[in-house]
Amino acid sequence: MSPSIVALAIISAIVAVGSFVGFLARFHHTMDLEQWTVGGRGFGLVLVWLLTAGEIYTTFTFLGASGWAYSRGAPVLYILGYMPLMYVVSFYILPPIWEAGRRHRLQTQADFFQVRYGSTLLAALVALVGVVCLIPYLQIQITGLGIIVEIASYGAIHRTPAMFIAFAIVAAFVFVSGVRGVAWASIVKDVLLLFAAVFVGFAVPHLYFGGIGPMFAALARERPAHLVMPGATKDLGHAWYISSVMLTSLGCYMWPQFFAAGFTAKSGRILRRNAVLMPLYGLTMPLMFIVGYCAVLVLPGLSNGDLSLLTLVRKSFPAWFLGMVGGAGALTAMVAAAIQLLTGAMLYAKNLFRPIFAPRMTEPQVETLARIMVLVLTLGAVLSSVYSSLSLVSLLLVGYAGVAQIFPGVVLGLFSRRVTTAGVFAGLAAGLALAAFLMLRGQDPYRGLNAGFIALCLNFAVTGVVSLLTPVRVAGFDEAAPSLAASQSSNGTGLN
């Protein structure tokens, strides 16, 4: 058998096992709308941990982090910098978000804005930002799947058809399983990913240099500039590091799918405990950087840094092992994509389409629309990955620049009684406009600072000033009287 057939067969087997676990989970629970999205609010510590980990450890970690270590060098350390910090932020904001969610039966991030600020339009804008920013994130998963198939087939299958095949599987997976299925599939992928990352991270430097220490010694001798910022780049220095770490650590839980993960926990206490423990899971992440650093010396001159990990695995190990690593990566991409699709589709149907265009839609109709949106979003992301050439890490940074603009409205909404609906609206609009303006003109980083971070600062300033100038409509969750539960049961959907 040729090595490409061996590798591809093993990848397919892993994907099949993961999907099967997801399908099985479905038969233990009947699904209604609330279950489909928030898993019935009954997940315990272990499952929430796995669900959160499954969402955060994506193709980005696996291929993107090693890719940037290879192509950019030390600026990739911003990923290690923000990882503990995003959990620090979650420690303070997720428990009150959970509390608000429980009291007002919130399902999505936009619901949070709807209830807190009493504005359907603001909620719709937040939903729009969430859905649009999910596209580059989905694109990471699709591109990743494409890379995996391309390398595992030794170039026989091109990336474009591979992406279409992979996402047909993901869409099917989403339709039949929902959150609980994804959680179980994510358990399978967590085990595999951990195994693959630890083995590759130690074995590759050992194979070529006799260990991690000698590898770094060789790199420090031959390419010392690669190991400190700005690495192989001109403009990713210390100011960029600080602004990017701030943007990503504040913005991370603003991704609608992570935000909604706050609703699935059993208690605020579990969320606090997770926030303390989660960075420990990230201890496997540096191994991905090490693989990327190794590739600098072993495989110089790759056209695309994101190919470095798998190319190195293919060069160093037998085909069946490439299949194992590729399978773990493929399953990771599928799980992440499934969660992103579920969140994006739900946000669109429930917080954007229904309130603006069809207020009389019933709950089952919303569900049908959400399912259609799964297909639309998938196709949109596939098409934009076919035409874009950004690196995986750059794609994520684009998404962050947008999604982090939601942060002021969330944090001030939780802890300030003086913030106003008009203030949040104006700040969000200003932040989005500036981020889009700078990025479209190719001015990211701008004067050495992350463009999304500059936009976030403007956003905070505008939110503050406009809030001082406008009257308060809703002063906090305690006063947010017309809760969603009331409006939903009046539709006769019987969510209670």
């Binding site: 770094f216 190991l227 400190v228 210390h238």
Partner: protein, 77 residues
């Protein structure tokens, strides 16, 4: 919503100072520690030290959250 206590916020600021704002102090190759460049080692160390700070914050916040929960129960009855 109840704001977190000052002590918990200060504990949370420690990892921010150590891994973000102070980058120009530790972004260097030497001295290598355990065979790792210093900046790489420093950030890995904070994957362990960060949770330690937040464990302290957890110890401070958890009793407050429990009290708040009990108060709410009291109001409902």
């Amino acid at each position: 919503m109840k704001r977190p206590s000052l002590g918990a916020i200060l504990l949370g600021l420690i990892p921010f100072v150590a891994t973000c704002f102070s980058v120009s102090l530790w972004d260097r190759v030497y001295p290598m520690v355990f065979g790792l460049p210093f900046n790489f080692f420093w950030l890995i160390a904070w994957l362990l030290l960060g949770p330690l700070c937040m464990w302290g914050a957890y110890r401070l916040e958890e009793p407050r959250a429990r009290d708040a929960g009990r108060e709410e129960e009291g109001r409902r009855q």
